[in-house]
Amino acid sequence: MHLPVWRFGKPYESLERETLVHFLTGEPVAEVSQAGGAIVGRDLQKAQQARAALLAIDPEEIVERLQTAGNLYANGTVTVGDSKQSPDDFVKQQSATTGLPESLCRANMQKNMFVLSSMDRILDALSRGLDTKILWNGQGVEHRGVTVSYQAQSPVLGLVLPSNSPGVHTLWLPVIALGVGLVMKPGGQEPWTPYRMAAAMVEAGIPAEAISLYPGATDVGAGILAGCRRSMIFGSAKTVDQYRGNPGVQVHGPGFSKILLGDDCVDDWEQYLDMMCESVAINSGRGCINASAIYASRHTKAIAAALADRLGPIDVKPPDDPEARLAAFTIPGAAKAIWQQIEGGLKESGVTHATAPYGPRLVEGERCGWLRPMVAHCARPEPAIAKGEYMFPFVSVVECPQERTLDAIGPTLVCSAITHDSAFQNRLMDCTHIDRLNLGPIPTTQLDWLQPHEGNIIDFLYRSRALQLPATASV
């Protein structure tokens, strides 16, 4: 199978190709044409045509086509690159190159389909009921009778995508429905979702010239960031720091998501064990929304032991086993390197390894490695491991007085706070380093798609501005 570069709808076979191989066997799965930064730069000079192609279609029709695309993506056989690809083919290919168990690939597929099929409701929620025709025309009259105007900040959204979890693609799915084209650099190991999604969209009638796919090296990512006035990039904490404060770049890095047990609820901690386990371990702990720390003022040793008892025995299974819950680290040496880092963290004073009785965490294969779920207990919030986040089910249970908790937790993408204490709830509401806030025993991984994620995508792509017309000038 060959995946060509896709230059606003035109397939381009590069002389440079990367071979993606099966993480267990090393057998070739696909060849991926590699683009370069210069190709991106040249194509982006015509980015306005991508938006023009979308604006030529009624916005409601676009939403309907996206819903069709969602169905094709999840259930249809579509042409991807030079091959026909069924949903089963997709799952096997994605699992083979990312190390994700097939069951998790299927689950993420459903998540993406759900977002596409719910696009009308999602747009309504994110736009606070705005008629999307206003985004198409640049102006209109709101249902309150007020003239409003929105400027598109870029004809296309640049995306430098990751390979860790196919669930992250839900973030950009609304973009086409907002009349903005897509310029994507797929993850090196996970080109599958962007390619299949693009194929499904085009088959459903979304203009091919609204979508570009540029697999390649770092110069492609740099070309996208330099050439798109709005971009979304996924990366490490270092990447996040690099683009912090750049209004044209929305950065998605580690989530450091957390569960906080309030003093008023912590004595009932056993009631929340299922929710805690799900937050830590679902999707093999790979997402930024997986919990990496649990804070409480007491019972923390018992909580850590109970989590270890549930998660510790989870073992590596073949990727096609429906019970498989752990993804492999497909980059040679990666699992071992992470484990060595964790071992270093365990040596700090006040840190204990709660999953130690359940056998070794590091499992090394011939071509890859796995890390079995890991629970650490921290008697205080200072040890570095309390702020660790890794791409497997990893959690630190941290003992910390409630009054110190919000100062101690640091940046938190999703915070599930289990408390009825209104004073604590108010402090949580005001806390600016928490993004998504769940008040109650809601798993950190349970996302309400009608809510914005790390900022509202519409606010990122459009700017509300003043527009005065003669007929309304006197209002």
Partner: protein, 380 residues
């Protein structure tokens, strides 16, 4: 053990270029052997050699004046050490035979620490005069003016290109770029500054190209060429439309795919000649880069003045088979400079001798894998 490239000549596919005949290869080898002996006589004679080699000769277990009878005998020298070229006194490299000549010093590297340096009197001119003969008149017409858009400062490139232009009867306009600052910008992650600096260079280039100087030829690097082409396209024009017919370009970031993209989408009819060169070697010309050859870029050193060998990674005295991958080993054999068996920071595939250059070539040049992680490439 060397691996074999799919595009290499040992892949089983017949070469699509004219492979040099045995006689031509033998003749070239004989010239190389003669050059080697002549250079030994110069560099190791007390009246003409440089202080460095005259001192080194006292430590050698053989006499270069009598025991080196052909190129292969240069293997008797111990490996040439990178560090010898760093730091002074620089005069230790000046042959006594040229002691009264005006000397230049050119540097390579130098982003951090002391750069490697090479003294030069006329070598750079000779290299570029010889290279001039490889340029097709149709695209690099004599008398045409040139634009040099690339690194100058302590490098020899600016003077060399200017000399090339003058040698061909033209006048060279220059836009400077400091690659050491570019490397620092990349390392610091100051990408906005990098972009601004690049734009600063491109703006100057466009100003000169649009100023009515009848510039038809240029030297630039791949990164700057693509930026220039895109900037011109934004203004509704092209490399071809502003009058450029021939581009001489160099850098290790040349890949077949990049070259194809440039030919198909950037150059608008202008012809580009890739080269591989550095301060130590001189300038290696390329075989014609054509679609039938998969846009393979194969370089041939300016033998007998310099020799490139593709050697095994763990045994630099052993060449890889044709099509095999290995590290670049460079030998420089001019009266101004003698450098035997210097292991370069690049690797590539060994290429068959080409009719026009009947000695080994190299393709797929890229940073040496063991140093690649610490090397910032594609900087200008």
């Amino acid at each position: 053990m060397a691996s074999v490239s799919s595009s290499g000549s040992s892949s089983g596919k017949p070469p699509v270029f004219e492979v040099a005949g045995d006689e031509a290869v033998k003749k070239a080898r004989a010239e190389l052997d003669a050059q080697t002996v002549e250079m030994m006589a110069w560099h190791f004679h007390p009246s003409t050699g440089c202080p460095f080699w005259l001192e080194e000769a006292t430590k050698l277990p053989f006499d270069p004046l009598t025991d080196v009878k052909c190129y292969a005998d240069l293997k008797k020298f111990p490996p040439f050490e990178d560090e010898w070229l760093r730091g002074g006194p620089v005069r230790r490299w000046v042959p006594k035979g040229f002691a009264d000549q005006p000397m230049y010093v050119f540097e390579t590297g130098g982003t951090t620490g002391t750069p490697k340096s090479r003294v030069n009197s006329r070598d750079f001119r000779t290299d570029y005069e010889q290279f001039s003969a490889t340029l097709p008149e149709q695209y690099f017409p004599r008398g045409a003016n040139w634009l040099m858009l690339g690194p100058s400062g302590p490098r020899r490139l600016r003077l060399s290109i200017e000399h090339l232009a003058q040698f061909r009867g033209g006048i060279c306009f220059c836009v400077d770029l400091d690659p050491r600052w570019v490397v620092k910008l990349i390392q610091k992650g100051w990408m906005e500054h990098l972009e601004a600096y690049k734009q600063h260079c491109i703006d100057q280039a466009i100003t000169i190209l649009e100023a009515g100087h009848d510039i038809r030829c240029m030297f630039t690097t791949p990164k700057l060429l693509e930026s220039l082409a895109l900037a011109l396209e934004k203004k509704g024009t092209t490399i071809g439309k502003v009058g450029i017919t021939g581009i001489f370009s160099g850098g290790t970031e040349f890949t077949p795919q990049w070259t194809r993209f440039a030919v198909e989408e950037l150059l608008d009819g202008a012809v580009m000649t890739p080269t591989y060169g550095n301060t130590l070697m001189g300038l290696a010309a390329s075989r014609p880069v054509i679609p039938a050859d998969g846009y393979t870029i194969a370089y041939y050193a300016p033998q007998p003045r310099a020799v490139i060998e593709v050697v095994e990674f763990d045994n630099p005295d052993c060449m890889v088979p044709y099509g095999g991958t290995g590290r670049v080993r460079l030998t420089t054999l001019t009266k101004e400079t003698f450098i035997p068996g210097f292991l370069e920071r690049d690797e590539g595939e060994r290429e068959l001798p080409y009719a026009k250059y009947p000695w080994d070539g190299i393709s797929g040049v890229r940073p040496f894998r063991e140093l690649a992680a610490t090397t910032t490439v594609g900087v200008y």
